[in-house]
Symmetry: C2
Subunit: 241 residues, 2 copies
């Protein structure tokens, strides 16, 4: 399983992914689910995946090496919309190559989802969720975050506290709190995490960090969040009836 969250905010983008991959509880490995393509002062794109790892890696390879017939890559597409289309095309190319065999072996095995966030010079920052069929939706001011993978445990806190106007570093804190709830409730989501913060019109990663269990900030947040929650609960009155 996986948990990835992407946020499109007025000041830019926040992307966070875990790195646990499993094919059953006795076959667990660490694979980064975040890939970044950037060119200074011109573009930064970040792709996160959940689902079948072989499909995700094949898509990423197509995006790196270029997709036939015209060899389009994420480093060359002119807009974020075209970037999302290219990811969709790559998903369809992998489906064409492997989909039938996968589905014949196990129905539903062609199971993949992506979040693509970024900004390309001349355009706005954009965040897309791309489905297994290669189609996609775009985040807006009223729905400023997307989640893929094990999304439910970490959704309530985002529903309550995140808005388009949230400051980038406060939003990254919320993403980490949301991840912490998921890590606690689902064993198949695991450290280390990959965090990317992109400020609008900077066309570069402002923060790009791998966070493991020894990260002092993440440790502090986890501990203080737990104790804050317990305190908040304690101050609420018990059921009076």
């Amino acid at each position: 399983m996986t948990y990835c969250v992407g946020m499109l905010l007025k000041d830019g983008l926040v992307m966070l992914s875990d790195s646990r991959t499993n094919a059953g509880v006795d076959n667990i490995a660490t694979f980064r689910k975040m890939t970044i393509w950037s060119h200074p002062e011109e573009r930064v794109l970040c792709l996160m995946s959940s689902g079948n790892l072989a499909v995700a890696q094949a898509v990423t390879n197509y995006l790196d090496e270029g997709l036939e017939p015209d060899g389009e890559r994420l480093t060359s597409v002119p807009t974020m919309f075209r970037a999302a289309q290219l990811v969709g095309k790559a998903v369809r190319a992998v489906y064409e190559a492997d989909g039938q065999s996968l589905e014949a072996k196990e129905p539903g095995a062609f199971n993949i989802a992506f979040l693509l966030g970024g900004q390309i010079k001349g355009g706005e920052p954009r965040l897309y969720q791309i489905y297994a069929a290669g189609n996609f939706i775009q985040a807006t001011e009223s729905t400023p975050f997307f989640q893929i993978g094990e999304h439910k445990y970490g959704k309530p806190i985002l529903d309550r506290a995140l808005s388009y106007d949230t400051d980038l570093r406060a939003a990254a804190k919320l993403a980490l709190i949301s991840m912490d709830s998921t890590l606690r409730s689902n064993l198949s989501v695991g450290l280390p995490l990959d965090l990317l913060i992109v400020r609008r019109d900077s066309f570069a990663a402002e923060t790009r960090r791998s966070i493991d269990e020894n990260d002092p900030y993440f440790r502090e947040i986890r501990q203080r969040w737990s104790s804050s929650l317990r305190e908040a609960i304690a101050t609420l009155p018990n059921v009076p009836y």
Copy 2:
């Protein structure tokens, strides 16, 4: 969809259910998912269901009217273990009657889960989760709560804050906070709620209450919990890197 949570604590039991039933977003209705059988100073049993409503109602009818061949009912079984077995038998009786037709129409349609909590004189308070196959598991001190239906949104807060030693009314508060997170994140879970609190060795409902949007305590909890969370988030430091 549905969300029900049952808690087995050192002082007794807390059971909470929503009442939204839907067959698609344009066909929503209110059905109570909690049924209580009690006999003063002798027994109190509470059954909550999630899944196919027709199956749930058929099971409840069997438990009321008595199950063949010997007409056993929840009002007559001698122990909670036998009560859980009886619910399992009723599920199997419904499967025998309707399962094949349901599954022929739609694979997976025989989809049902129950939480059964209660105490019968001579025995301890017990909480069981009963599956569609009629088998069941029992809550213990180390796993003092079970959830059925849309359980993920409301699980993190219980994982963090509930233990076997939690006071009954504090536990009921946690159940309502857990329900609130679920109500906010999933439209298919809805008010009114049914809350039951049973104190150990009382063999009666200490609290039995229907909670709707006008309930002053639930309104207060929802508002204060939201603002406490926002304050708790605000006091945590933002991402420093």
